[in-house]
């Protein structure tokens, strides 16, 4: 069992910031490996019920990545970006851009994973920045918004 996540949302000049903290009952090395090793990542990446048929993921600074999550009905949700910080076993950071037809399908956002050892357990802090604000969220075309909401509903 893992502890419930704590969530914070702020706004800065670049857009909205989402922060989620979660404590895992696993060592920092194991949690980092689950993020850095593509074979391990593919085993959990994607919400429950979804598979990860495309997992082009090899963390190296400046390297690109792309993954596609597939729903049970076969619909794919692809996201990709570039690694911006790779510092095992405490930090992994990358840009994050959903592929899609809507005007915000190509919004370049950024994700940082910070890990901290807590006596054999691991605290993970996920910081997703440069998220579109409410105004741009309102402007999302139906395609992008609804596919993202579909995805959220499967969780």
């Amino acid at each position: 069992m893992s502890q419930a996540a704590t969530i914070e949302i702020e706004r800065n000049d670049e857009g909205c910031v989402l922060e989620i903290e979660h404590v895992f009952k696993a060592t920092i090395e194991d949690v980092y490996a689950a993020w850095s090793d593509p074979k391990r990542l593919a085993k959990w990446w994607g919400p429950q019920g979804m598979t990860c048929p495309v997992c082009d993921w090899d963390p190296a600074p400046g390297g690109t990545w792309r993954t596609c999550m597939q729903s049970p009905t076969g619909k794919q949700y692809c996201v990709g970006g570039k690694f911006t910080d790779v510092a095992p076993p405490t930090r992994l950071a990358f840009t994050w851009m959903w592929e899609g037809e809507g005007p915000n399908g190509g919004v370049d956002t950024h994700v940082t994973i910070d890990l901290q050892d807590l006596d054999g357990m691991t605290r993970l802090k996920l910081t997703h920045t440069r998220l579109p604000d409410e105004e741009s969220a309102k402007n999302h075309s139906d395609g992008w918004t609804s596919s993202f909401i579909d995805l959220a509903e499967i969780l």
């Binding site: 706004r11 909205c16 009952k25 994607g46 993970l124 996920l126 993202f148 995805l151």
Partner: protein, 129 residues
């Protein structure tokens, strides 16, 4: 539909979060969700002066949560859930996504831990050789 002026639109989300950041204001919104109320009725549950409550109402009004109608000297307040909906819709998609992802990661790590323990058990007899 919520109507904003152009300058307000830029900081709508700021105002929404600012308005929601206070427990008194959240309680006022909770009361308004049940139906129309006067400023006096909204103030009643709180140990607070009417001017103090009035300040909270102004914050809510600015964020677009509250619509006031004057009825003589009485202000009737109504809830407009528009800003809340916009904020929660936006937040829930990203939040649900990452919560789901971290949930998957937690399940994966638990499975790996179990595998490790089973392997350790298997290795125990051989280590006694």
């Amino acid at each position: 539909m919520v109507k904003y002026s152009a300058s307000e639109a830029d900081s709508t989300l700021d105002l929404t979060f600012q308005a929601l950041a206070d427990p008194t204001r959240r309680a006022i919104l909770g009361r308004l969700a049940e139906g129309e109320a006067t400023a006096g009725e909204l103030a009643a549950p709180f140990e607070m002066s009417l001017p103090a409550v009035s300040k909270h109402l102004k914050v809510l009004e600015k964020a677009g949560f509250l619509i006031r109608a004057r009825d003589g000297r009485v202000h009737r307040c109504n809830l407009d859930a528009g800003p809340m909906q916009a904020a929660s819709d936006w937040i829930s998609t990203y939040r649900n996504f990452w919560e789901g992802q971290l949930g998957s990661l937690a399940r994966y790590l638990e499975t790996e831990q179990k595998k490790k323990k089973e392997e350790d058990k298997k290795n125990e007899p051989s280590s006694n050789d």
